[in-house]
Symmetry: C3
Subunit: 352 residues, 3 copies
């Protein structure tokens, strides 16, 4: 069993009292806090208490109702919490701007499921994001070694993409498992009807995945139309399990207007008793924006129980040429041309 | 049984563990998502994923404690969620301005109940709002056909009324059922003590209702003092049930300063097996603000279970003269003088 | 048993279904609403519905997991709610500025507990704040008579302290009970790594407490570094129980830059059946900021059950010299030089 399983929330099923005995709502969440020591070329170092070093802190409600005849309804509302400050998360109501009142902005979906798969509406991960999570990347998108550092888009030409993780106003179709194959397609509109006559903020994307016993491969692409320059995200991920080891490879490209960044990652996870050693190495090539860079990340996660783990990770990002754009997750950005950024973190992650 | 019953949240009673066996808190909510196709004269049409087409998405906690001697304490905190974006709702801390941090702004009340009725404090529906809900109107205040389009006030002379739905800082008295009669009176102050010496934002209102086996009638009026022009809302509603049919009538008036809008609605709901057909026709007359208008709304709700339903609705609003003020719920406002606005929606509503 | 015990939230343990039978999450909260009649010299009086007259309204999730070998993990996320408006609370992400999105800003902590005590990270009460609560002060920090009126800092020289109650980004160590003695030390950084190279917003503080059967004494001090002038808070509290009576004494000092305020409080609480009479008298001396003042507060709390109580309190604050800085909790600030502020409140407090 891999560690990525352990990072899932262990929800508590609260069985309904009274007549609707089949009803249930699950109250669930994750709390993650740690300490980060961050350094960068040309900048004074900082030691700080941080949130989400291993897994994103969250709380949520979800439930599934059996409607008979193989049909099920599932709702899911889940919000981010910064454990270091108690602050809630942000959303984007139009997939263009960021707004602060994102109470359940990690996910707010309602779906109908059956033999045909699932039709799901609301705010949810885009198909392209799924390849950046722990489904492929050893560090997912958390902590100093997170995939977001080199696999997220770089704002350019007035466009700050908002759909590299989630899209609001979406409708998606997820196929069932078809002999190991599965697909996920999503369409999301820009937001309020006030935006009539413009496609600014509209997302369309798809992901195709294949899963065998010890092997997975998946490819995804998505495009968001922006008045200031469209955003396209594409990626391919693969994992291979050999006994206690899991190898992973991720390729990703982000195009914002006429600019482009491409990254390649090779990763490994290795189970040792209740612990997992992790490492990832990523190279990034940039065109028309930012600079080339490489990232090395190593880490260790030790399970105290199914719900609680201690973790540590170290990562270093090297900017190439005279670039200073990239840094480790939660870290400091260098000011010295071609400088590097590094971070060492320790923390606790607890699921409830 | 009518469909309006089905739109109530099916809460899950979580019985307390341990000694306080009589204690309980109920975690409850509704999730509603759909698709809207909106059109309007002179404007490009829009298709979008929408929230709350049938019932307002919400989550909340509530509980009742038996204090003995017929006395009970009841708390209720409930907040809005935009299921399409995960965003939380808004409140008005002074009944004058809108503010974003309305976590439990749908309702936050604490009441003491007994044979005498209930004394309830906090943020709650105004007595006048209750006649606009599904208690009278076939579409309540949700979706393309919602009552708010022609029964809500039109801002005028610097006054944007905030008390047509709820009031903050309120204290209310609700009588018990007295042979079919009941009354609800509310007083709400403007907010913080900082507003000393001014009545700006103070609300006073009352509702009187009578309920027989197949017949209900209710009348309500409320006044909010604003420095820029007082706001008065009055309405009368009646419903009559004949077998599978329910007929409804609603009259409402909103005065903002020296301006006024008056609306009349006739509606019908008809049960067919697990479904309900709905229709409503409304005419509006405006004085000193906006323009006259009419609205037609038809819809159908199909229950998949006690908790889950599919729905569809179509509505059209015609602006009279050269007016362009009114549109269907969630829809587009026409730009052509005297133009119309229409919307067709499909969706799923799920209670938990 | 004292009334201060009753003001604790009565949480509901929700036992996990299925295999993790030792797991549990507790959903808990308090709702408090009342009416305040406020008066002040030179200002028109105000009557208003208020929140938190006896206890701060809140809702939260918490849980403890037994990790074996005496080790436990505990998470706690808790947010403020204004019951009069449904609004959420505020936080300070950097211990410098206030920000609105404080969903769980009352407390968001994750701790590891054992025989060694507890290591706790996140946003939490500062050690110094604990002496201002009902642990020492008869009125705690709620209502017209609350300790915050004369024991909180006065902003000066550009510094508005944010750590007199809580600190974000904190790591703390709490000793176990060592023969009646206990200690609490806390360090908190200023926030994001963006603040590299500055100590602006960094907090360090400690509290030492001793508890015998009928006697408690505790002393605490904390310092927060601010670019505009450091903030130091120190206090000493003692309580003594004699049958139905509890006597209390509190000394506190707040230094903001070169200014300083010092306050002394003597208090008494007296149990009569299901009720408690409370009184507190405080004098304040100010240097370089604001003015001297005195505060008298009297109150009565009547328990209807373990979870619900009615309360009333009256308080008067006299400003000395030509000062107008101080007022009663939630009250009006006088405009007449040397004027006074008074408030009378009635309310209901309900725990769930």
């Amino acid at each position: 069993m891999t560690k990525t399983k352990l990072s899932m929330a262990v929800g508590l099923a609260i069985v309904a009292a009274g007549a609707n005995a089949q009803s249930s709502v699950t109250l669930f969440g994750v709390a993650d806090l740690g300490i980060l020591s961050a350094r960068a070329s040309g900048v004074a170092g900082v030691n700080s208490v941080i949130t989400d070093g291993n897994t994103s802190t969250r709380f949520g409600l979800r439930g599934t109702e059996d409607l008979g005849g193989g049909l099920k309804a599932q709702f899911w509302i889940e919000g981010a919490v910064s454990m270091d400050t108690g602050a809630s998360g942000t959303t984007s109501v139009d997939n263009i701007a960021s707004s602060a009142n994102g109470l359940f902005a990690r996910r707010s979906t309602l779906g109908l499921q059956g033999n045909f798969g699932e039709v799901r509406m609301g705010r949810d991960y885009t198909p392209t994001f799924n390849n950046l999570t722990t489904a492929v990347h050893p560090f997912g998108t958390n902590g100093v070694g997170n995939a977001g550092q080199l696999f997220y888009p770089v704002a350019a030409g007035g466009t700050t993409p908002r759909t590299n993780v989630r899209a609001s106003n979406s409708i998606a179709y997820l196929t069932p498992n078809l002999g190991g194959f599965s697909a996920h397609v999503m369409w999301a509109n820009a937001g309020a009807a006030a935006a009539a006559g413009t496609d600014n903020g509209r997302y369309v994307g798809a992901r195709l995945a294949y899963r065998a016993k010890d092997f997975t491969v998946s490819a995804a692409t998505g495009k968001t139309e922006y008045a200031t320059g469209d955003y396209t995200q594409s990626n391919i991920g693969a994992t291979y399990r050999m006994g206690p080891a899991r190898l992973s490879y991720l390729w990703g490209q982000n195009k914002v207007g006429v600019t482009s960044t491409k990254a390649n990652m090779i990763g490994v996870q290795y189970q040792i008793g209740k612990g997992e050693v992790r490492a990832a190495f990523t190279t990034l090539k940039a065109k028309g924006v930012a600079n080339d860079a490489t990232q090395l990340a190593v880490g260790y996660v030790h399970s105290l129980s199914k719900r609680t783990a201690l973790y540590t990770a170290y990562s270093n990002v090297d900017n190439k040429g005279v670039g200073t754009r990239f840094s480790v997750g939660g870290g400091l950005r260098p000011t010295t041309p071609g400088g590097n950024s590094s971070g060492l973190e320790f923390g606790v992650r607890h699921s409830f």
